[in-house]
């Protein structure tokens, strides 16, 4: 306001000043006119007449101050449009290049923004934390759930938290069976949460209400997710207060959450009230920091409360750790989400930089063609800044059109990403072109304008007009420092392309190696499915045993099924963190590693998956509930716990998280390792100790079915009918090919390989086009010179060498730079690699050759053009 006033006031002063100046002029003129006019009145009139219209002068002076900038801009703009239209080839290449660079960057940014940058859609999200457990002595235990008692003690006694909530998806806690809706029973994901969960996040339901502390004393109640409400209940507006049957219990629907609400896991169908009984599997603790409390203060208090709660025992070895909730959402989606997106963004910025260098180089080359025009403009009084502005305006025009094209490209890429959703992102992350993304695109556009327009604009305005005019527009610019600039640009492009190509090759190699790795079993023609038995109907081991026996028999009888086995876990899911004790090997209870997984399988399991039996025997029909308790261990367990001695005939027993011990089990066989995924390190196939028990001796309530069939489209129906024939209340999932389950683990590595591969290809093509374009212009400009050389006897090879000299050195320097960068940055992506070293001759060699080959083509075409120059025609041109 003040500024505005000052501006207005200064304006007013200027106007008064001018008026006075003009009056003074008239006064002086009048005095002179008096010599020829007798009358002073007449002299004054003549003076006024000589001056001309006072209003017009005032207006014109006004224009000098106000409109010149805008006026010049409009003129530059029009001129720019005309110039660009006169060079459609250059304009098209520049715009396409910029559109690719800007489009890719905007697309990657929109994913990065949605997954990592945008705050979580909860109230005051920066005060929300997640508290996980961390093994003090056993580093295998990282980011595990904590004890339910910790949740109770934090809620009751912590001063650093405003509120504390618990939620769990540990073990079977999240699997529930929805039945009694006219169709067969089906499995749903229902996350048990404490009553404080929704108030903690500060999100209100779309319908009804969320949990209150009172609900804990009432019967089962449930809050539905919007998606589940729409898909299963037809978005029934009267759903609140109705009853649904979950796990054979009647549960009241309390409310429906809004469509935008999401928490981990993203596929949650409903939320249930967490009971302490369910919490024994461990809970995730989420809390809101009191205003002004730092995470480290909360950490100190959480550690203290945890120690007081667990003076000894298993939980004593687990320390609570406070993390920022936002970061943990990314972690939960994928351990490599953050690295992947940051890597993608870095890669795409390199592509953009290459694109800018390209356009800058083309621009520079074209400016030297327009040198005479620029020199003449400078000669007739165009200020230096005006010339620079003219060039910048042209750059801005290109950038503007390129950005529009880029945003369109990004929109298409994002649509494709939304439809295929190749990787899992943070829960609730909504990838879209929104205001933030557009703002980013606008900023990007201005920055690119400066990057590729600045250098040419400086070149255009600088330099001695006389030499430039004298050179007659025949490339004096290109022969001096701008040629050096162009060469540096080419070298930089080659370096960046080299780095991107190396990165893409490494990631592609990793993805392929990981996909082709021998996992210790053969997934060919195998399909996986799962069933879980409702606890109310299958309370005893005997009931479950009977169900599994008849299920296996029934499935074996299905047409097209060549083999069936049941197992508590199906690949690539395996492993665990239990501890075992070997009879006769004394060890301190608190000192054992927590690295053993325990599974229950039917006798046919190993042969169906073609897992080799190394020693001893398979399970068979002898291993029944009342026979000796036996176990088969894998090689990893045998080598870790028996160290060379023969495990067959030895006795081992398991201890679970609560310190309960299983009976002693006799080892009867050793099988090969089945490799499996690992939670904390996604780029690894883990081989951890696993012991297997006969399913009949350990009838778990939820099991996986694996069967072999050569029928590619083996119907969902046949399986479901078979299970329903036994019990309609038992839900079936699947089937899906076992290889498909493995492929899901490869989603991130594959995505990285594809995206980086695309960027590297773009980089390579852009660099090649840039090199080609610059050389073509060099040849065109020096046509006369080449003509003279040919005329006085230069051979074909001489001409080729001349062109090669322009580009050869920058290409080699660029390659060398790429090698240096590869060695310097080889650690950056090491944890995204599988079975391959970053600085590796097997990768460096082919990449170097590829780049050289592409550069050779880009150099050869202009060189051939130079060779074909006819001296006579060339000389006649000037």
């Amino acid at each position: 306001m003040v500024k505005r006033f000052l501006w207005w006031w200064r304006r007013k002063q200027e106007a008064l000043d001018l008026e006075e100046e003009l009056k003074a002029h008239v006064a002086i003129e009048t005095r002179e006119q008096l010599q020829s006019h007798a009358d002073s009145e007449e002299a004054h009139r003549a003076a006024r007449k000589a001056l001309g219209s006072m209003t017009r002068i005032t207006e014109e002076v006004h224009d000098v101050w106000r409109f010149v900038w805008f006026d010049d801009f409009v003129r530059d703009f029009r001129f720019g449009v005309r110039t660009l239209r006169r060079n459609p080839g250059f304009t098209l290449v520049a715009i396409v290049t910029l559109a690719i660079g800007i489009g890719s960057t905007v697309a990657v940014f929109s994913v990065l923004d949605a997954a990592l940058l945008r705050p979580l859609p909860y109230k005051d999200p920066d005060r929300l934390v997640a508290i996980w457990g961390h093994g003090i002595r056993d580093s295998n235990l990282s980011k595990i759930f904590l004890d339910y008692e910790d949740f109770e003690s934090f809620s009751a006694r912590a001063n650093t938290f405003d509120s504390v909530a618990a939620a769990t998806w540990a073990g079977p806690a999240a699997n529930h069976v929805l039945s009694g809706r006219g169709t067969s029973a089906r499995q749903i994901i229902g996350i048990p949460v404490s009553a404080s969960f929704f108030p903690l996040l500060g999100v209100s339901p779309a319908l009804g209400r969320t949990f209150t502390a009172d609900d804990e004393r009432r019967g089962c109640s449930v809050v539905l997710s919007h998606r589940f409400w729409s898909s299963t209940f037809g978005a029934d507006g009267n759903i609140v207060g109705q009853t649904v049957t979950l796990d054979q219990k009647a549960c009241t629907v309390l409310g429906v959450m809004p469509a935008k609400f999401a928490f981990f896991p993203a596929k949650t169908d409903a939320w249930l009230l967490l009971e302490p009984e369910v919490g024994k599997f461990g809970v995730g603790i989420f809390a809101r920091l009191r205003p002004g409390v730092t995470p480290s203060q909360a950490q100190t208090e959480a550690t203290r409360l945890h120690r007081e709660q667990h003076p000894a025992g298993l939980w004593h070895d687990i320390a609570p750790e406070v993390y920022d909730l936002h970061g943990e959402f990314a972690f939960l989606a994928s351990r490599t989400l953050r690295t992947t997106l940051i890597l993608m963004f870095a890669a795409v910025l390199l592509v953009l930089l290459i694109a800018c260098l390209n356009v800058a180089n083309l621009f520079l080359a074209r400016l030297s063609d327009r040198e005479r025009e620029l020199a003449v403009r400078a000669a007739v009084g165009s200020g230096q800044s005006r010339l620079a502005r003219q060039v910048l305006t042209e750059a801005m025009l290109l950038s503007l059109v390129g950005t529009i094209g880029g945003v369109a490209l990004a929109w298409a890429a994002i649509r494709y990403f939304q439809i295929t959703s190749p990787i899992e992102l943070t829960a609730g992350a909504d990838v879209a072109i929104n205001f933030r993304v557009l703002l980013f695109a606008a900023a990007l556009s201005s920055v690119t304008t400066l990057v590729f327009g600045w250098l040419p604009s400086v070149r255009a305005s600088r330099g001695d007009v006389i030499t430039r005019l004298r050179a007659g527009g025949r490339g004096s610019l290109a022969n001096n420092s701008s040629a050096g600039m162009t060469k540096i640009g080419i070298a930089a492009q080659i370096t960046l392309s080299f780095v991107l190509l190396i990165g893409a090759t490494l990631l592609l190699n990793s993805a392929l190696r990981m996909g082709n790795a021998d996992l210790g079993f053969d997934p060919t023609s195998l399909y996986a499915s799962s069933v879980s038995l409702p606890a109310s109907r299958y309370a005893t081991n005997e009931q479950r045993r009977r169900f599994y026996e008849s299920l296996e028999e029934r499935l074996r009888g299905l047409q097209g099924v060549a083999g069936v086995a049941l197992a508590s876990k199906l690949p690539p899911d395996a492993g665990g963190n239990q501890e075992i004790e070997v009879k006769g090997q004394p060890s301190e209870p608190g000192n054992r590693p927590h690295d053993v997984g325990a599974d229950a399988v039917t006798p046919g399991f190993f042969s169906l998956l073609q897992v080799p039996l190394i020693k001893g025997r398979q399970f068979d029909s002898r291993d029944r509930s009342n026979s000796e308790l036996v176990t088969i261990v894998n090689e990893a367990l045998a080598s870790e716990y028996f160290r060379g001695s023969d495990p067959i005939g030895q006795q081992i027993r398991l201890a679970d998280a609560q310190g309960n011990q299983s009976p002693w089990l006799a080892v009867v066989g050793v099988v090969g390792n089945i490799k499996h995924s690992e939670l904390m390190n996604e780029m690894r196939w883990a081989e951890t100790p696993i012991l297997y028990r006969p399913l009949l001796q350990e009838p778990r309530p939820a099991i996986g079915i694996v069967f072999k069939t050569s029928i590619a489209a083996f119907g969902n129906r046949a399986l479901e009918h078979a299970v329903n024939a036994l019990d309609v209340e038992v839900p079936v999932d699947g089937p899906e090919p076992l290889s498909g389950r493995i492929a899901k683990l490869l989603a991130y590595p594959n995505f990285r390989a594809v995206v980086l591969g695309f960027f590297a290809t773009c980089a390579l093509l852009l660099s090649a086009v840039g090199l080609y374009g610059v050389l073509m212009q060099v040849v065109a400009r020096r046509t006369a010179e080449f003509g003279v050389r040919r005329a006085i006897g230069a051979q074909t090879t001489d001409v080729i060498l001349l062109v090669l000299r322009q580009a050869g050195l920058p290409v080699l320097v660029g390659l060398f730079g790429g090698l240096v960068c590869t060695f310097a940055f080889r650690r950056v992506i090491s944890n995204l690699l599988f079975g391959i070293e970053a600085a590796n001759l097997m990768v460096l060699g082919p990449v170097t050759l590829t780049l050289l080959a592409v550069a050779a083509v880009a150099i050869a075409l202009p060189a051939l053009r130079a060779v074909r120059i006819d001296p006579i025609i060339a000389l006649r041109q000037d």
Binding site: D17, L18, E20, E21, L22, A24, H25, A27, I28, E29, R31, A50, L51, G52, S53, M54, R56, I57, E60, V61, D63, V64, W65, V68, R75, V376, A378, A379, V380, G381, S382, G383, V465, I466, L469
Partner: protein, 110 residues
């Protein structure tokens, strides 16, 4: 059309700067000396000088100050700045070059 105007601006600017190299002068005086030196060539209205003066002032080549003439008349005096002097030097060589360039362009094609 726009180009011709540019050219005229360039010429007028040069004439003003040249006039001012002999010392500070007010608008009326500058107009008079230009008319005197270029004869009938430049038949400009007195007023058209002022936008040009302001344009040169915007570029920072000249600066202005109120003063008093010999006849005790208050008037605004203009003076070359150091960047204006440089500009004058380069404009003069540009001008000569321009004249040459024009001549060359006008030469019939061989």
């Amino acid at each position: 059309m726009a180009n011709k105007l540019d050219m005229l601006h360039g010429t007028l600017d040069l004439l003003i700067l040249r006039t001012l190299q002999w010392g500070p002068q007010h608008g009326h005086g500058i107009g008079q000396s230009i008319r005197a030196s270029s004869g009938a060539l430049l038949q400009v209205e007195h007023g058209s000088l002022y936008p040009a003066l302001h344009r040169l002032r915007r570029e920072g080549w000249i600066e202005s100050e109120w003063g008093v003439t010999d006849n005790n008349q208050r008037a605004k005096f203009y003076r070359l700045t150091s960047s204006g002097k440089k500009q004058l030097l380069s404009e003069e060589s540009n001008w000569k070059l321009f004249v040459k360039a024009m001549a060359r362009t006008a030469r019939p094609q061989e």
